[in-house]
């Protein structure tokens, strides 16, 4: 099959993935959750801002620092929900269809199995990135409308969060090419959990100046680079003045830009693993 024909097959699979997500009301469920979260967040920001404005003792700098902290907490929650969405959405996309036998009729068609993996991966990534952007736009809109606050570093931070989504989602797709749905779910969540804990260890190490903890955190980030993208994004979302001294305990240890390349390479390797494993899998 020629290149354009292969691309068309991958697009056909991606399109089916999007149609299925809509029909199974996954998009609706995601939108409802996002709306609920943004409503709570919006109310909290509005009340916090009103109280701060009413208190003459709160300076402009204190107010901005507090609003930055609130915004970061908002992004942290949105990031966590988006990562869960990215892991759970495709967790059964390969394993489930292999187990149910749906895959037999698809894979017997004149297409390379790589097109199936790539189509499903692309379709789910589009959905997960859409969800992240929806949440991020909501947080930015709430901060702007409820407190007149415009954060810095958004153009740097959002692509990093998208990369984190890509890492988590690709690990979930790759696991599904080899393991059963339940096993894959446990492993993919565990993969992110390790990164999450490793990130905390690294932050504590940075905040308390304990080198060994930082080293452990960095090693964990290399094994599981998802959470380090969040920490780098959080770093960019803070104004310059708060970054230097490990401000807000979210930037005590900042991953290097090289980690971005590692995360991108990791995603690519996980995707290649998914393709190769699925190519040789007995269906």
């Amino acid at each position: 099959m020629s290149g354009p024909a292969s691309l068309r097959s991958a697009i056909t699979v991606a399109h089916l993935t999007l149609v299925e997500a809509r029909r199974r009301r996954i998009v609706l469920a995601g939108a409802v959750c996002a709306s609920a979260f943004l409503t709570v967040f919006g109310v909290a920001v509005a009340f916090a801002y009103r109280e701060m404005m009413a208190d003459a003792a709160v300076s402009f700098v204190q107010r901005q620092a507090t609003l930055t902290f609130i915004m970061l907490v908002g992004f942290m929650a949105a990031n966590f929900l988006s990562v869960m969405f990215a892991i759970l959405l495709p967790v059964d996309t390969l394993s489930g269809e292999i187990d149910s036998g749906v895959m037999q009729t698809i894979a017997s068609k004149p297409i390379d199995r790589a097109q199936i993996v790539l189509g499903k991966w692309a379709g789910h990534l589009l959905l997960a990135v859409f969800y992240l952007l929806l949440m991020s736009a909501g947080i930015l809109a709430v901060m702007r409308l409820a407190a007149g606050f415009v954060p810095v570093g958004v153009p740097h931070a959002i692509p990093l969060l998208m990369l984190e989504i890509a890492v988590s989602l690709t690990v979930s797709v790759a696991g599904g090419s080899r393991f059963s749905t339940v096993t894959n779910g446990i492993m993919a969540l565990g993969f992110y959990g390790v990164a999450f804990i490793g990130g905390f260890v690294e932050q504590i190490g940075g905040f308390a100046g304990i080198v060994s903890l930082r080293t452990i955190g960095i090693i964990v980030s290399l094994v599981s680079p998802a959470d380090s993208m969040w920490r780098l994004a959080a770093h960019y979302l803070q104004p310059e003045i708060l970054r230097g001294s490990g401000g807000l305990a979210l930037g005590a240890s900042v991953p290097t830009p090289l980690m971005v390349w590692w995360a991108a390479g990791f995603t690519l390797m996980a995707l290649l693993y998914a393709v190769e494993t699925f190519r040789h899998r007995a269906l």
Partner: protein
Amino acid sequence: MTEAAAGRPAAIETRALRRQFGSTVAVADLSLRVGAGEIFGFLGPNGAGKTTSIKMLLALVAPTSGTGDVLGRPLGDRAARARIGFLPEHFRFHETLTAIELLRFHGRLHGLRGVSLEARIDRLLTRVDLLDAADRPLRGYSKGMLQRVGLAQALLNDPELVFLDEPTSGLDPLGRLLVRGIIDELRSNGVTVFLNSHLLGEVEMTCDRVAFVKRGRVVAQRVLSMPAETLDVELHVESAAPGIVEGLSRFGTNASQPRPGVITLQAHGDAAVPELVCWLVQQGIRIHAVHPRRTSLEDVFLDVMGEDERPG
């Protein structure tokens, strides 16, 4: 193989295909040839390796060893897969889709697009009698309807070779009739059909030739489309004069009179029956009934599989 099929190129030819899952041998030695245009039945008890064999032919499972060609191309060749249709044993589907959407999706995977795809979908849904339900989500379909939409899916690309794994399971008698009709149409269009079914009566009515698989090996093959060489015949007569039983030996073998008024023999094929009836009448014997009885495929199946394959 039938004489007609023997002269044609092979649609399927395998040489010692084997598949092991760990220490379990699913298929030990699959060596067979299916001629183009044949309706070929693949029979065996549960766990004999029939489905794994089909999966190897479709490149869904890679053989551990052995080789094979499908439509003149090596196993797994994508160009060959474009000319193949497949209905799996348990046809599963994306249940949120409608029948039209499902067929459109599978058609696009075949590289079909636009008006020609829509026309094929319309034609096939009409053929499997699902046009009225075409816009309903598949989750509301009965098992028989799903089987029929699966059959339409297998025929989307006007295939030259169709694998049907238990195509009539879940179908009522009318549904089975529909499947038989479709297989007949495929036969008249020169399409090769590889049929895996437990319903031996269906296979007997449909197939030109069958292979029996036992413990992952083809242990016997039998042509069904040729007239039987021998035919068991039971005659009910008013009385049989001495010498009549011996006289019948010219029309067959093993003629005997198990009880008064009943004569049995193995006639030399279909053509011998009217001749022996005519001869009996000429001898002045009054005939009450003639019961020709063929050896059924089920009898052959049980004979080939032996006692050890019977449950219990």
